[in-house]
């Protein structure tokens, strides 16, 4: 959860670099992913019908303890901040790893942190998610953006509440143990094994982060927060999720750029490397500049979330307005500059393109976030 804004945190300039501890964390995650998350493995995983790579997730979540980065020590987590989670997401983006990190360790965890963690009903599932014992998912359409008007499609009835309704396009739902469901009377925890819960996978554009339809027919839920607090908790989760998604998008873009530079430097046509043609060089140099800028804005958002800066909503909106488009452009250039091989199922470029394009829609499109900015920085349109 983002701590409340304080005067002190607003005055200091954001730290846009990586600390040594953050670099160490990156190195550890990268080494795990090079061993276990090579593109061929990722593709095989995506095709085997399992919703995510459970073995990789175990190493990452409980083995390395990254599932609990955002959770304070006393609640069973690592007591780190959004800055460290952002580094993990950069690496996961670089390898398009099929693991429920953004959905489970960021969105679900942050939603729980927004509830009253002194209550056992909240603290128990939070600790389970933080320790990687269970996997959570926030049951909202992935396209929901921070600040969106809440449209709960689930109704809760009875003293021991039973939930009914449907939520579409939920990322990370398939394969999860615990759903956090916003309903008309508050936020509820629903065990995915319970009666009345059906999770129907949707054939998804993004092979490495598929979405699913969640259908509840009188499924038992336990109340996490009443309606007011629930909405604030979900919105805070969406804000944190959107801000950290920028780091994942940075990782996607970075891999696409590096891979394309490598390939065009080696591939020869007309008697010379195709990367020596100025038409390609200029495109790659322009892309490099965008990736460098994406790093600055993604770092800014992560730092603002970590410090609870008063400016965090602006920082997140800027990051989401910028990084989504950069990741898509990088993935598109990657396909194009590889020529025919870039168009194949065999080459990993498509996994990045699919992730980048879906992520552009996730947690608000760039256009949505620019509309948010218009409000936040007082640049109203003609009719407002």
């Amino acid at each position: 959860m983002t701590p409340p804004p304080s005067a002190a945190s607003s005055a200091t300039a954001p730290d846009l670099l990586y600390s040594e501890a953050e670099e160490d964390l990156r190195a550890a995650v990268r080494s795990l992913l090079t061993h276990r998350g090579a593109p061929a493995t990722v593709l095989a995983e995506a095709e085997n019908g399992r919703p995510y790579d459970a073995e990789l997730w175990r190493s990452l979540a409980s083995g390395m303890g990254t599932a609990g980065l955002l959770v304070p020590d006393k609640l069973g987590g690592q007591g780190a901040t959004a800055r460290e989670a952002a580094v993990v997401l950069e690496e996961l983006g670089r390898s398009v790893a099929p693991v429920p990190y953004l959905t489970g360790a960021v969105l679900a965890v942050t939603a729980l942190l927004g509830c009253d963690t002194a209550e056992d009903a909240v603290a128990a599932p939070l600790a389970a998610l933080a320790e990687g014992r269970r996997v959570g998912a926030l049951a909202v359409p992935l396209t929901t953006w921070p600040g969106a008007r809440p449209t709960e499609t689930v109704r809760a009835a009875g003293r021991r509440p039973l939930l009914s309704g449907e939520v579409t396009a939920v990322a990370g739902a398939a394969g999860s143990d615990l759903l956090l469901v916003p309903a008309d009377t508050g936020l509820y925890a629903v065990d995915t094994e319970a009666e009345g819960v059906r999770i129907t996978p949707v054939t998804s554009l993004d092979l490495t982060r598929p979405v699913a339809r969640v259908t509840l027919a009188e499924a038992p839920g336990s109340l996490l927060a009443g309606p007011g607090r629930a909405r604030a908790a979900v919105d805070a989760a969406l804000l944190t999720g959107a801000g950290l998604l920028a780091s994942e998008q940075l990782g996607v873009a970075e891999w696409c750029l590096e891979e394309t530079v490598r390939y065009t430097g080696e591939r020869r046509q007309f008697g010379r490397p195709v990367g020596s043609f100025q038409a390609l060089k200029h495109r790659l140099a322009a892309l490099w500049l965008e990736v460098a800028s994406a790093r600055a804005v993604a770092r800014n958002a992560a730092d603002a979330l970590a410090t609870g800066s008063v400016d965090r909503a602006v920082a997140v909106a800027v990051a989401q307005s910028y990084c989504g488009e950069v990741a898509v452009r990088a993935a598109q250039e990657c396909v194009q500059l590889h020529g025919g091989i870039g168009m194949t199922w065999e080459h990993p470029a498509h996994l990045y393109l699919k992730r980048a394009k879906s992520a552009e829609l996730a947690l608000g499109t760039p256009g949505r976030h620019r509309a948010t900015l218009a409000r936040l920085v007082d640049l109203p349109g003609p009719q407002d």
Partner: protein, 415 residues
């Protein structure tokens, strides 16, 4: 200046300390000894230079304290708060941004002592005699000749696009000293006296109406060998220092990424001010484009800020090469949007009178001027096309274009 410049109220920081507290103490001492209200402007600037508070990252005795550059704001803010006069960088941008770092790196002690103080105070304006009619992007192909003549050199040739030549006392000059070797190897770098009778400066009128730059004819100009910077034949290496600094100076000014900048400065701030003040001008199309540019300007600002943080840690990233590219594009798009936003007022232009301005201010005057002047941002100091080549080859390591001009003697190159 003595290496232990006294700082009376330095307290625990000690007189030698060049941390923020030490700098505040030195600033206070300067202000106490030279009250800005009563001290003539030039005297104050000289005293500031001698106190090592001009550019604190320069060495002691040369206007600095060998202190981290990032702390300069401590001094600047202290002096600004006391109403101290500044050295008006808009007048002496080439001296500050290009000549000074080159002198610092390659100048002899004698040269540094002679040139840096009046350069910084603005007593002596500098210009840059690099570009020629036949050598722009391909600067190393230049033809201006410098020939040994007794204990000095005789220079003949023509330079062009020389900003501030009409105001300049000195110039940094790149000339060919050996036409028989490949082009990069035959150059030497000089400091040229602009008052030499062989120097003729003629204004060149620009698309803005005024003449900020000039063409400069050099006929039998005398340059003493003591005004050579770096070894004979090493001119290209020295010039690269100048060019790198030029890009940082241009890229870091105004709309994106100047030190300590907050949001909505420079060109963007001008547009957002108009947007808020005049709701009747807003359209949906302009709104979308403005928000897009706002985000890009903010991204450029943060990229500049990140670069500065890296420099402070002593690990400069390659982002600097890109900043001038973003700066040029943003300035052009924002100024274009501003003209459109102004509707009928966008059809007017301030003044086409041919003048020879004393200052260069990208964000000055009216929207039409800004729109036109911004066109130069992607040409001056290396065109955007050339900068993209540099990023592609030096940052990304992409293979160079095949070239035929690198190994031939300069005199045998096709022209």
């Amino acid at each position: 200046m003595s290496p232990t410049h006294p700082g009376p109220e330095a307290g625990s920081a000690g007189p030698e300390a060049v941390d923020a507290a030490g700098l505040r103490a030195r600033t206070a001492a300067l202000l106490a000894a030279h009250d800005p209200a009563t001290t003539p402007r030039l005297d104050f600037l000289r005293a500031r230079f001698d106190a090592g508070l001009a550019w604190i990252h320069f060495p002691e005795g040369l206007g600095g304290l060998g202190a981290p550059r990032a702390l300069q704001t401590v001094v600047d803010e202290g002096l600004a708060a006391a109403g101290a006069p500044g050295n008006d960088p808009r007048r002496i941008g080439i001296g500050l941004g290009m000549a000074a770092p080159t002198l610092l790196q390659y100048g002899t002690d004698e040269q540094k002592r002679r040139f840096l103080r009046p350069l910084w105070t603005g007593e002596e304006v500098w210009c840059q005699l690099f570009s020629e009619p036949g050598a722009g992007s391909d600067l190393a192909a230049l033809a201006t000749r410098a020939v040994r003549d007794g204990d000095g050199w005789r220079v003949d040739g023509q330079k062009v696009w020389t900003s501030s030549a009409h105001l300049a006392r000195w110039a940094i000059l790149l000339a060919r000293t050996d036409p028989t070797v490949p082009k990069h190897a035959g150059l030497t770098y000089f400091v040229c006296d602009m008052t030499d009778p062989g120097v003729e400066v003629r204004p060149l009128r620009q698309i803005t109406g005024e003449a900020e730059f000039n063409e400069v004819f050099l006929t039998g100009v005398r340059v003493p060998d003591a005004h050579r910077l770096g070894a004979v034949g090493e001119g290209w290496r020295v010039a690269r220092t100048t060019l790198m600094n030029e890009r940082v100076a241009i890229g870091g000014s105004g709309a994106s990424g100047a030190p300590g900048e907050t949001r909505e400065t420079g060109m963007l701030g001008l547009v957002t001010d108009t947007w808020r003040a005049r709701p009747e001008l807003r359209t949906h199309d302009l709104h979308q484009r403005l928000l897009g540019l706002w985000v890009q300007a903010e991204a450029a600002r943060l990229t500049g800020e990140r670069l500065r943080q890296q420099l402070r840690r002593g690990r400069p990233g390659p982002e600097g090469s890109g900043l001038k590219l973003s700066f040029a594009r943003l300035n052009q798009e924002l100024s274009g949007l501003e003209v459109e936003l102004l509707a009928e007022d966008g059809l007017a232009y301030g003044d086409w009178t041919m003048t020879r301005p004393e200052v260069v201010d990208f964000t000055g005057r009216d929207a039409g001027y800004r729109y036109l002047r911004a066109k130069g941002n992607s040409i001056e100091g290396g065109t955007s096309e050339v900068l993209l080549n540099i990023v592609a080859e030096r940052v990304l390591g992409l293979p160079p274009e095949p070239r035929t001009d690198k190994d031939l003697p300069w005199k045998d190159l096709p022209r």
